[in-house]
Amino acid sequence: MAATVITRGNVSGLGSKDFERLAVPLLDGLFNFACWLSGDPDEARDLVQETFVKSLKGFSSFREGTNFRAWMFRILRNTFLTSRTGLERRNTQQEDEDGFEESYVSGETPEIALIRRADTELVQAAITQLAPAFQEVILLADLEEMKYQEVAEALDIPIGTVMSRLARARRQIRNHIVAAAGKKKIVGIRS
């Protein structure tokens, strides 16, 4: 979905109809993101509703140049972080981002084929095992197809952090898939 940026030309006189036109198409993505964050559809429903309440209140003071989608996801994420589940997650699952080293294998790899063949459940398990900081970055970047700038706005982090977390999230997913394949005695496909 392309980013919707509110410009000076259309910021004045924005009403509930405009909000509905912009926000409702994001509902499915917001709900999906909330489910991933909270791990509970019921809690996700509450998070989305609260997100809409907050964003509707703040819509009248919307500033030009703001990315609406990033703004909505940011409200959702902040709402989650201040929830009981969010606070628990934040206190227990933050991972050290220092010392990130590339460890991609060289050359034509059987891992590429393994990832390509990985079923949905395996990939979902790989996403689930990510720390929230990595999970939210990769979901926004790869699922919601946000640009780095949008992800940075939504998560309120620098672009450099987006890049490093995204790289690390992908590496962890790759390792999870390869490890799971190894457990299943899947033989490498290197020819």
């Binding site: 999906n32 991933w36 559809p41 509703q49 590429i112 992908r170 790759r174």
Partner: protein
């Protein structure tokens, strides 16, 4: 892995680089197996996450709830409005079906009457009772029909001449066909009980005029290939004669 391009592979896969740098990385991937493999892996992971990440869909009630938040107080249509619209649509559909069915029935009656009229025109014995005297023709139907009618008394200077009558059946119900001459044309006047054969079609195609009306519990049809004015005029005469 010490390739200086390595850190640009991720942004390259994500399309985040300046066009010139994007092209430079693409060129580099042609000659660097390490970066090429890393790019391929990231591309596959992106695709896998895009598919697997879409795990949950917002339930319909959440959409309804959110819309209610946006438009508190009624812009969100409650269930009873949808029910009312559904009921209205059903009524419209039923009425349309009834109208369509009735229209089809009326069209079928008109078609049968025209057929009867054409059969009369082509027949060597167009009528069963041959008489220009209504006092001969009318009694002929007694015992054949369960109703009576009153053929008009034609004036001496009337352009219409009664030729006779015959018993007909339309929609399985018996009726009278009176045949009149006007100049070189013939006019059939069909008379049925209104409860048996209904409708008041007034149609004119390229060949025939059909004019129908109800009066005194009877259904009348004038069918002719003569001018419509002739049909209207004979109809008016019949109406005058049967006024109660």
């Amino acid at each position: 892995m010490n390739c200086q391009w390595r850190e640009k592979v991720g942004p390259y896969v994500d399309g985040e680089l300046e066009p010139s740098v994007q092209q430079a990385v693409a060129d580099h991937l042609q000659s660097c197996a390490d970066c090429s493999a890393a790019a391929a892996e990231q591309q596959e992971i992106k695709k896998a996450v895009r598919v697997a990440g879409k795990r949950f869909s917002a339930p319909p009630e959440l959409y309804a709830s959110v819309r209610k938040q946006i438009h508190p107080g009624g812009n969100v249509w409650p269930w009873w409005k949808f029910s009312a619209i559904a009921a209205a649509l059903i009524v419209v559909a039923a009425l349309s079906f009834a109208w369509f069915t009735r229209a089809r029935t009326e069209n079928a009656v008109v078609a049968q009457l025209i057929d009867q009229h054409v059969t009369m025109l082509a027949s060597a014995n167009p009528v069963d009772v041959i008489s220009s005297n209504k006092h001969v023709v009318k009694p002929w139907f007694q015992g054949k029909l369960s109703f009576t009618f009153n053929p008009p008394e034609l004036a001496a200077d009337s352009p219409f001449t009664l030729l006779g009558g015959k018993l007909v059946y339309t929609q399985h119900y018996p009726g009278a066909e009176l045949v009149y001459q006007v100049r070189q044309h013939k006019i059939s006047v069909f008379i049925f009980q209104a409860r048996d054969v209904r409708g008041e079609p007034s149609a004119t195609d390229q060949t025939f005029t059909v004019k129908g009306w109800q009066q005194g519990g009877l259904q009348y049809y004038v069918v002719t290939d003569a001018a419509r004015e002739d049909a209207d005029r004979l109809a008016a005469i019949f109406k005058d004669a049967n006024q109660q």
